[in-house]
């Protein structure tokens, strides 16, 4: 069924900008990215919008739709109230480049600072390892991440408090959890988590979990378990004592 819908889209760059309204006709089965492309093609040829796969797997078309961080390609128009104006704006946790496109390169710089995967010696002579599936189940959830950075965008520590220098954000806590909990990994990342990567800044509001398009249980399965490992190491005197006296091996 065809219908006229008004979009309010943020137009501008790092120096400033404003919302501009566009009214267009939509048909059944469209997603927000389709409508943005239609507006781009028919009314605003110079509107910048980053996208790639249109299948919710590349993480490029992240934006804020009606104030909530979402992938434009995975937000069906029939999930929005089209009787009212629909707002689309760029992510607020990163510098604006132009219109709906932001500079997310900070994330890649953060990633380089996290200690890499450091596996134990191979289990077999041919240089391979053996793992039980149940040991990697937990880590495999984290591997679903498509790096859309919606979790980074919604995290108020980055979005509102701009703690980019002190906090790595939920995406990289998930990344760290995937390494730290890996059965083959031998690296210790707890000191960095506590100090320079600022896990203590997370106050568990679970906004990151709510916006994750891959439905990764970021807070409960990644961040809180990492917080508990930091507690083991730095805040639990009984745990510390137990580690000293328990039989080694």
């Amino acid at each position: 069924m065809n219908k006229q819908v008004t979009f309010r889209i943020w137009r501008g760059d790092a120096t400033g900008g404003k919302f501009v309204e566009y009214t267009t006709e939509i048909t059944e089965g469209l997603v927000v990215l389709d409508v943005i492309h239609k507006i781009q093609a028919t009314q605003a040829n110079d509107m910048a919008c980053r996208w790639n796969c249109k299948a919710g797997k590349c993480g490029s078309c992240s934006a804020e739709i009606n104030g909530i961080p979402k992938l434009m390609c995975m937000t069906r128009m029939d999930t929005l109230n089209t009787d009212k104006v629909i707002t689309v704006e760029p992510m607020r946790a990163f510098p604006s480049i132009r219109d709906l496109v932001t500079d997310v390169s900070w994330n890649f710089r953060v990633k380089t600072k996290i200690k890499k995967f450091n596996p134990r010696k191979p289990d077999a002579e041919d240089g391979t390892w053996r793992m039980m599936q149940e040991d990697v189940d937990r880590v495999q959830e984290f591997r679903k991440c498509i790096e859309c950075f919606l979790c980074q965008d919604v995290c108020h520590v980055l979005r509102d408090h701009h703690k980019h220098d002190e906090f790595i954000g939920p995406r990289f806590l998930v990344y760290t959890a995937a390494l730290e909990m890996h059965p083959l990994d031998t690296e210790d990342r707890l000191a960095e988590l506590k100090q320079t990567q600022g896990i203590g800044f997370c106050n568990i509001t679970k906004c990151c979990t709510k916006v994750c398009p891959e439905h990764i249980t970021i807070t409960d399965n990644a961040i809180i378990p990492l917080k508990e490992r930091v507690v083991d190491e730095y805040y639990d005197p009984l745990g510390w004592l137990w580690k000293k006296i328990r039989p080694q091996g």
Partner: protein, 280 residues
């Protein structure tokens, strides 16, 4: 240029482009928690006047029943048959005392440091943030990295204490299944409405307490290779099962523990009568 200077300016408090009723959830949480805090404080202070009159409003013994309010269990220095010791003579006469004062810090501390509650009250009571993608009232932020909220890391110790309370409340529920015959003094097994309420209270609190994130870590989450410790893996899976509904059990147990006190208090003060389904 500082990286922060290249970012969009922080929006003022409440500013958002969300058209939904984003304020509703924090408001409901605020009202729910506030109602419980006000009621439990009032109920704890009722013990002060009970100590003066010598008649406990937190314990019901009508028709041979033996129902103790969970706000007063374990009952140190109290006046009901559950009491462990009497109020010592050195306690200053000017200082108000209620048995609830001695124990309520434990379940309160467990809930205050609980990962679910933390996220909920940071939003509802401190607006940090008031809801996802909504502007905040403050620019400065310390999180749980610095004092005072770094203290939240004590949560696993609060869990140890809370777990003991589950055993005590389960024992109270067991005692609530025994009705004393006023003539013979013999105890008879039975089930009253209060018995069911107290039993459900221990069950709901148990389902909340044993779904704790800290427990999940302590029983197996700390391991990278759980296959090498099958009992830890089983325990981890059990706790994880409860943990996925931690918020639900947090609310149900919060409501029910308050309701249990209300029911016993209404029975004890003669406003309602406890119905006994059967007793042998």
């Amino acid at each position: 240029m500082d990286y922060a200077d290249t970012l969009p300016k922080q929006r003022p408090f409440g500013a958002t482009t969300r058209p939904d009723a984003w304020w509703l959830q924090p408001l409901v949480v605020f009202l729910g928690f506030s109602a419980f805090i006000i009621y439990s404080t009032w109920a704890a202070f009722q013990g002060v006047s009970d100590m003066k009159t010598g008649i406990p409003s937190y314990w019901y013994g009508g028709h041979g029943a033996n129902y103790l309010s969970p706000f007063y269990s374990p009952e140190f220095w109290g006046i009901s048959p559950h009491a462990i010791g009497k109020l010592p003579s050195w306690w200053p006469s000017w200082a108000p005392f209620s048995p609830a004062f001695l124990i309520l810090w434990a379940p309160a501390g467990f809930r205050f440091t609980c990962y679910y509650y933390r996220g909920a009250y940071y939003k509802s009571f401190w607006a940090d943030p008031i809801n996802c993608a909504v502007g905040e009232p403050r620019k400065s932020y310390l999180g749980e990295k610095y004092f005072p909220l770094i203290i939240q890391n004590v949560h696993r110790y609060m869990f140890y204490v809370a777990a003991v309370f589950i055993v005590i409340l389960a024992y109270d529920a067991w005692l609530g299944m025994w009705f004393t015959d006023a003539v013979t003094g013999k105890e008879h097994f039975g089930i009253g409405v209060g018995t069911i309420i107290m039993t459900l209270n221990a069950v709901f609190l148990g389902l909340y307490t044993f779904g704790c994130h800290s427990l999940r870590h302590l029983v197996g989450g700390f391991l990278d290779s759980k296959s090498k410790a099958p009992s830890c893996a089983k325990a981890y899976n059990c706790v994880s099962c409860l943990n996925t509904r931690h918020m639900m059990w947090a609310w149900i147990s919060l409501f029910w523990v308050g309701f249990t006190d209300v029911y016993i208090r209404l029975c004890a003060t003669g406003h309602i009568h406890d119905f006994i389904f059967f007793k042998f």
